[in-house]
């Protein structure tokens, strides 16, 4: 079943005719995604030829949805225009907007995440690699060919650590992998994904990847204690990060005693989550836990 994205998902790409949009639309199509249209107000009525597939360009998200029944949009537009693009998608009533764009001002993120919530649109991102349900659909920039379909659900603040874990566990495979992004304000949180994976019959075990900054992992730990019965394996990046320095992601910063990797790891371990010290060790913990889950007698 997977979460948020399935083989039935019909995907629009805002910014499809730009350089990044073209490159990744091609990759999404190759991964089996139903990309049903691009959006560009200046190129409405045109179409783009991707190898043997012709994808029409619409003047607005609303037009694209009317013509194709699209329910997902992937946003590749530059930072200065991203807020307007997301607001347009929310106004059109789309169910899911995946915002890949990096470097969006935080005031814009606050505005569009709050607006989308009122309109009932789920935002994944911004500054994220998107999400993939292997073998079914890929909305974003996650490489589709490094893993396969399976029973592990993955939620991560980091794109490359998502890829690393997907690759290490390629023989096991994944239900859905969601990159939620490393900005201070994101639309979909660890908790949203934990809740969805808990309810997803295709997910047997959950991997949660966090990093320094904020307290999202601590809140996820509290949520796990109350609501998650499936095994969770964690990994946190940034133990060696010095205080007060932004480590690549806009949200990855240790402020005083807040936001440390140590505190996040401790919070997860306190609720029974096994936390790896390296990505490889994390993958090993997943394998060991899957064995015990599978050996346990079925009720």
């Amino acid at each position: 079943m997977a979460i948020f994205l399935t083989k039935e998902s019909r995907v629009l790409v805002q910014g499809m005719t730009g350089g990044e949009g073209m490159k990744h639309t091609r990759r999404m199509l190759a991964a089996g995604t139903h990309v049903v249209g691009g959006v560009n107000p200046r190129k409405a009525g045109q179409s783009v030829d991707f190898d043997d597939r012709v994808v029409p360009v619409f003047g607005s998200v609303a037009d694209g949805m009317r013509a194709t029944g699209a329910d997902v949009t992937v946003v590749f537009v530059p930072p200065a225009f991203a807020k307007a693009a997301v607001v347009e998608a929310a106004d059109a009533g789309i169910g899911l907007a995946v915002v890949i764009t990096e470097g969006i001002p935080v005031h814009d993120c606050v505005a569009f995440t709050s607006y989308a919530k009122k309109k009932g649109t789920r935002i994944v991102g911004p500054n994220c690699p998107g999400l993939i349900t292997p073998g079914q659909s890929n909305a974003g920039i996650i490489p589709a060919d490094i893993t396969r379909s399976g029973r592990v659900g993955l939620v991560s603040k980091s794109g490359t650590l998502t890829y690393q874990l997907m690759y290490e566990l390629r023989d096991i495979g994944f239900s859905t992998c969601v990159g939620i992004g490393g900005d201070p304000v994101v639309g979909t949180t660890h908790i949203d994904c934990l809740a969805a994976f808990q309810d997803d019959p295709d997910t047997e075990l959950i991997v949660l990847i966090g990093e320094i900054g904020g307290d999202a992992e601590e809140r996820a730990a509290a949520y796990i204690r109350e609501h998650v019965t499936k095994p969770v394996v964690g990994y946190i990046a940034g133990f060696t990060a010095p205080e007060g320095r932004t480590m690549g992601h806009a949200g990855a910063i240790v402020s005083g005693s807040a936001g440390t990797a140590q505190a996040k790891k401790a919070a997860l371990e306190a609720v029974g989550v096994k936390v790896g010290n390296t990505p490889t060790e994390t993958a090993r913990l997943v394998l060991a836990l899957l064995d015990t889950v599978r050996e346990a007698p079925q009720a």
Binding site: P79, A80, G103, I104, P105, V106, H107, C109, V110, A111, S114, Y115, P129, I141, I142, P143, I146, S156, K157, S158, G159, T160, L161, T162, Y163, Q164, Y167, G182, P184, V185, V186, I209, E211, I212, G214, D215, A216, R219, Y235, A237, G238, F239, T240, A241, P242, R245, T246, M247, G248, H249, A250, G251, A252, G256, A261, N277, T278, P279, T280, E281
Partner: protein, 385 residues
């Protein structure tokens, strides 16, 4: 980007928030002249981007212009928590009756801004919040509405601030929104014995992502603690100098942070964080390696790339280009996985540089880089072949 106090003060003044008269200088003689202009008696304050200046001797009261010059001489050049004082601000002293605390901060969990206000200003708000949480009022701000006079009245009332602070609260919100700030703080906001409201000290943190529409804050407002950080920033590289001996380059902030941790787990200390980003070209890789190799503290380098969008063969080409441009004197351990990894490994194999070795796993590569740094430190210099 954090602003200096004098820059924050200038912004407050621009937005109509009352501040004491003040001027900035880097010269003790000029400090004397400024004190004369401001009426003789002044407060002399170190301009550094760190808290706790007072305790570190960075804030002094001077009774007259000669005293201001002496105070400036004592403060300028001083080291405060690793920050060298390049400038001092001289301000008119204020006859304080009451001190308040007000700030707008980003509430990451709620995805919106929050007003934090207290009638107990002048000290560390964290200490007040820990000792007496009820003395600190936290009011969420709806992003669609912002801070109107009515909202400001609500904030002031919740915290027990003087009614005259309402106007300051509205204007401070304008500073936050118009300047694309992620934090604005006034501590203390004071009422003088004459009944005036004044922002005595302030902190403003701007959003680096908003620089494209906030052109006035050029890169010269950024203070780099390290010359290599300035070089890296000019090349558009995401680089943070650390105090260890293993140079680390990777793609993606999460993977690079993780690489630092894995290196530290092998008993070595990372010398830096350098993220070449997604889809990096050979030139970006070559530039990154150039920056790291010019750091004398670096004893070995670990290049850790998981090619998602980034192609490993482009990374390998960049390494080879760097080898042609700079004479490599430090060992390099490279781990390539993902997109075009086999082609990338073949490129490095073909170049066959004696100081470059490849590893197949991240953990193994980190271990090797740590061993090489250790060996290099013991022998003083790495034998070049």
């Amino acid at each position: 980007m954090d602003l200096y106090e004098h820059q924050a003060r200038a912004l407050f003044e621009e937005h109509g928030i009352p501040v004491p008269r003040a001027e900035v200088t880097d010269s003790p003689q000029e400090a004397r002249a400024i004190a004369r202009r401001l009426g003789g008696s002044v407060v002399v304050k170190a301009q550094v981007k760190t808290g706790g200046r007072g305790k570190a001797g960075g804030v002094r009261l001077a009774a007259d212009p000669a005293g201001a010059e002496r105070a400036a001489r004592l403060i300028l050049g001083r080291d405060i928590k690793g920050h060298r004082v390049g400038k001092v601000m001289l301000a008119q002293p204020v006859d304080i009756e009451t001190e308040f605390y007000v700030a707008y901060v980003l509430d990451r969990a709620a995805g919106r801004f929050l007003a934090i206000a207290s009638a107990e200003g002048g000290m560390e708000i964290e200490e007040v919040a820990a000792a007496r949480p009820e003395a600190v009022a936290r009011t969420p701000i709806d992003p669609a509405e912002g801070v109107t006079s009515a909202k400001a009245g609500e904030i002031a009332e919740a915290a027990g601030l003087a009614p005259q602070t309402v106007d300051v609260l509205v204007r401070l919100w304008e500073v936050l929104v118009r300047q694309d700030a992620v934090l604005v703080e006034v501590n203390p906001l004071v009422r003088t014995r004459q009944g005036h409201i004044l922002a005595l000290d302030g902190k403003v943190t701007l959003d680096d992502n908003a620089r494209f529409r906030q052109a006035r804050w050029s890169t010269d407002s950024v203070a780099y603690d390290d010359p290599l950080e300035a070089v890296a920033a000019a090349k558009g590289l995401n680089y943070v100098k650390l105090d260890g001996e293993v140079g680390v380059i990777g793609n993606g902030a999460g993977l690079v942070m993780s690489t630092l941790d894995v290196v530290a787990g092998c008993g070595a200390r990372p010398a830096n964080f350098l993220d070449i980003g997604g889809g990096a070209s050979a030139q970006v890789m070559a530039d990154g390696l150039g920056v790291i190799l010019s750091d004398p503290a670096v004893k070995s380098v670990f290049v850790n790339v998981f090619g998602g969008i980034t192609a490993c063969d482009a990374v390998a080409d960049g390494i080879v280009r760097a080898l042609d441009e700079v004479r490599l004197t430090k060992p390099l351990v490279v781990r390539l996985d993902g997109n075009n990894a086999a082609r990338g490994r073949a490129v490095l194999d073909a170049r066959a540089h004696p100081l470059v070795q490849q590893a197949t796993t991240m953990d193994g590569a980190a271990r090797r880089a740590a061993e090489l740094a250790d060996a290099s430190r013991r022998s003083g210099t790495w034998p070049s072949s």
